[in-house]
């Protein structure tokens, strides 16, 4: 008997050690972005919210109290958990009503860098996000002496509702990088008047803009809630290895990140270890995370410089040996421009008539399109017929033909050949590419996918409507998957924007051609006019969200519900019950 009591006590103690309880309040907060101050939403009184530190293997209980006058929610981005705990209103649950406290309870089955954010309205762009660090059960496959979260965001003075409303009224509302009369004359001088004119006429004919890289400009890039002037600073001792946990919590902005003077060794992508790769710069898509190790040996300051992909803004922080030290802040590099290669799949172009196989898109761009009269004829007649607001018919294109005809760049197949978005390191060094990512510890056995699902990323920039396969969320049937299958998703980006696609609840294994070493991610960035594959082991029953993580694209319809059918009864009946059961044991 005594033995029994002792055993129970010991097990209770060990349970207590393994069960973390956390409290979060969702509050209205004031956000000081330096250039402006705005009302926003934060957690425990600040934005970003606190860094939540979990341990792999623990059972977490998180009490979320909604102090707002509107409903809210928290999604644990990248965490593998029962779907009722995933925090997506309209899919996982009803959200958290004003004044209500919702208790999340789920086991932590992974380690790494993640984040959490509201999945209600535009609360995330308004500041409702924070970081998650999960310590692994075992040893990390690399050493570090200290660590910092570097959480990036693009703080905009306008509210999310207003931004989307403005974009719907005029898709170029925030674009202040458009080509001007001056640019035309500059081009005319460099490439000749006729070729500059022809170039303008081609783009004008499509009613597309080369400068259409960032929909929402006018933001202040921030690191851990600090503007460039407020200069977030992380301290170090020379010679230390510092682990920087980069999280891109932006609503809309990709960042190109570098720390002049330091090489960065990428050790983790989207929470999963990757085989270490040393780079000078990397591009972090919206909602992605990258962990890098840096080892500053000098007693000086280093600037963490994160330029937006379209160069309309930047975030800046500092690594220094003493508070107040700063290093030089680089100038923004010139804004890139899209090329015809990035238009590869644009709606309204009749590709069958384009004879793309014979054309070198990059060369075409540089010689100003001369001599392309016949080949580039675009069939606009096909657009005028059957649009009926759904964007269905006119988007039909012969993808097979396009896929074969478009040779991909040898060095980086994740951009269209000749794309204007292909990044280059500021110092001429190495820029991280998806092809550099190799899983360190594959989570699944490599096997043939059971089937392929094609998802065409579609949209109408002028109307600011975004969709998948030409259908918006509100009109779409859910994607149905069977528990136990391995699905190969084929993303075909027919738009000229870059879309960070995020599947909830299950891992996205990005096909970089390395089979079992393909990296395991939760966000897959799909550049304009590219086709990207990812595979998913369907091992999580329930209903999940699958969407573009650009806030205003998700809200405009580039979003799907995924239903995983079948699966073990104990799980399928609802993990809430399983959780209750464990609670009973405790």
């Amino acid at each position: 008997m005594r033995v029994f009591v002792v055993t129970v006590l010991v097990s209770l103690l060990s349970w207590a050690a393994q069960a973390g309880e956390y409290n979060l309040t969702v509050d209205r907060v004031t956000i000081d972005a330096g250039e402006f101050t705005k009302q926003g939403i934060g957690y425990n009184g600040s934005s970003p919210g606190p860094v939540l530190r979990f341990k792999e293997g623990e059972e977490v209980t998180i009490n979320v109290t909604n102090n707002l006058d509107v409903s809210t929610s928290i999604h644990w981005h990248g965490l593998i958990l029962p779907f009722q705990m995933d925090g997506v209103p309209g899919i996982s649950y009803d959200g958290i009503a004003p004044g209500e406290t919702f208790t999340y309870r789920f086991p932590i089955v992974q380690s790494g860098t993640y984040w959490f954010h509201s999945h209600s309205g535009f609360q995330e762009p308004e500041g409702a996000f924070g970081a998650i660090i999960i310590e692994p059960e075992g040893r990390e496959p690399f050493r570090f002496d200290r660590e910092y979260v570097v959480q990036l965001t693009d703080k905009h003075p306008h509210t999310g509702d207003r931004i989307l409303r403005n974009l719907k009224m005029s898709a170029d509302y925030y674009n202040r990088q458009q080509q001007t009369v001056g640019d035309f004359f500059a081009d005319a001088q460099s490439q000749g008047f006729w070729s500059a004119l022809q170039d303008r006429l081609m783009w004008g004919d499509m009613r597309m803009m080369k400068a259409d890289i960032e929909d929402v400009q006018g933001f202040v890039g921030m690191i851990n809630g600090k503007s460039p002037e407020q200069n977030w600073t992380g301290l170090f001792e020379p010679g230390e290895r510092i682990r920087l946990r980069f999280i891109n919590s932006s609503a809309m902005t990709y960042f190109d990140v570098r720390i002049p003077g330091l090489e960065m060794t990428v050790v983790e992508a989207d929470g999963n270890y990757v085989q270490p790769v040393s780079v000078d710069e990397f591009r972090i898509g919206v909602a992605e995370t990258y962990d890098v190790i840096v080892r500053p040996r000098e007693d000086r300051a280093y600037t963490i410089f994160a330029e937006s992909m379209g160069r309309s803004g930047y975030a800046r922080g500092t690594l220094a040996t003493a508070e107040g030290m700063t290093a030089e802040v680089p100038e923004l590099r010139p804004a890139p421009l899209l090329t015809m290669a990035d238009m590869g799949g644009h709606s309204g172009m009749d590709h069958s008539g384009m004879a793309m196989g014979d054309m070198d898109m990059a060369a075409m761009e540089s010689d100003g399109m001369s001599g392309t009269d016949g080949a580039m004829a675009m069939d606009h007649g096909s657009m005028n017929g059957d649009m009926s607001g759904q964007m269905g018919g006119s988007m039909a294109m012969d993808h097979a033909a396009m896929g074969h005809a478009m040779p991909e760049a040898d060095d980086n197949p994740f951009y269209a050949d000749g794309s204007g978005l292909i990044p280059e390191a500021a110092n001429g060094g190495r820029f991280l590419a998806y092809t550099d990512l190799r899983a360190q510890r594959p989570l699944y056995e490599d096997r043939e996918p059971t089937r392929e699902i094609e998802l065409r990323l579609t949209g109408n920039m002028e109307r600011y409507i975004w969709s998948i396969n030409g259908v918006k969320y509100e009109d779409a049937e859910p994607i149905r998957l069977q528990y136990g299958e391995r699905v190969r998703f084929k993303f075909v980006n027919e738009t000229m924007m870059t879309h960070p696609m995020h599947l909830h609840g299950m891992w996205s294994i990005l096909d970089v051609g390395q089979d079992k070493w393909n990296p395991i991610k939760h966000v897959i960035s799909v550049a304009p006019a590219t086709t990207v594959y990812m595979e998913t082991e369907v091992d999580a029953p329930g209903e999940w969200a699958f969407h573009c993580h650009l806030s205003y694209h998700a809200a405009s319809g580039m979003f799907r519900k995924v239903i995983v059918e079948g699966g073990p009864d104990s799980v399928a009946d609802g993990d809430a019950e399983a959780v209750d059961g464990q609670e009973g044991e405790a």
């Binding site: 999945h119 209600s120 995330e124 989307l164 001007t180 009369v181 759904q390 002028e462």
Partner: protein, 247 residues
Amino acid sequence: MIRQMAATSWLALLMAAPLATAQAAVSEQEDTQSARYFWGVQFEEFEYRYSDDDEELGVWKADAFYGTDEFKLRWLSNGEYAIEEQAYEQLENQLVGQMPVSDFFDVKAGVRIDTPEGPDRTYAVLGVTGLAPQWFEVDANLYVSKDGDTSAELDAEYELLITNYWILVASLDATVAFSEDREIGVGKGLVSTETGLKLGYDLIDRSFSPYFGVVHERKYGDTADFAEAGGGSTEDWFAVVGARLSF
């Protein structure tokens, strides 16, 4: 009196509509994936005109909408107020439903009610509006009056970006009548054109953009003859100063 009421009531409605719908927009969207209803109010022209015969006009061209990607209800209002005469030379309000028919074009249908100084008119409206190749904003409308008089109006606009903030707007508005409506001075054929060239600066986002420029108005054919017979002018040059507004 009625005219004044009409003028003030549309203004009041313009102000009230956003307030009502703004509340709706907040409460309706409780998730991230289904923003559905949108609204907007814009004054493409809100200006003072001074003519070469010393005539002074207050002119606006405004529209407000509420709706979804698939269907919008749009109110368009257009007026010219002669400051000295204290009279509306033109006062035109349209209420139309609008829906997409192609990637870049919408169709719209509804009613137009004209209540200027002089006889009133009510028309049925059928129109197409959108963005033509090479970035021309186009708005074409067909009107049929209660008495069966038909007319058409074509509005085209081009924005030339001197810089990303200094924008030169060229516009052309032409009206053609397919039958005569003598009472309101409209002759058959090309009725009138209004051509404008305005240089604006986006001072506060795109919501407040002051501009200045010139506008040329001309009447043609029988319409010009009717105007001359009535002692009016057939051609006017205006210097204008005003602002584009959007909320």
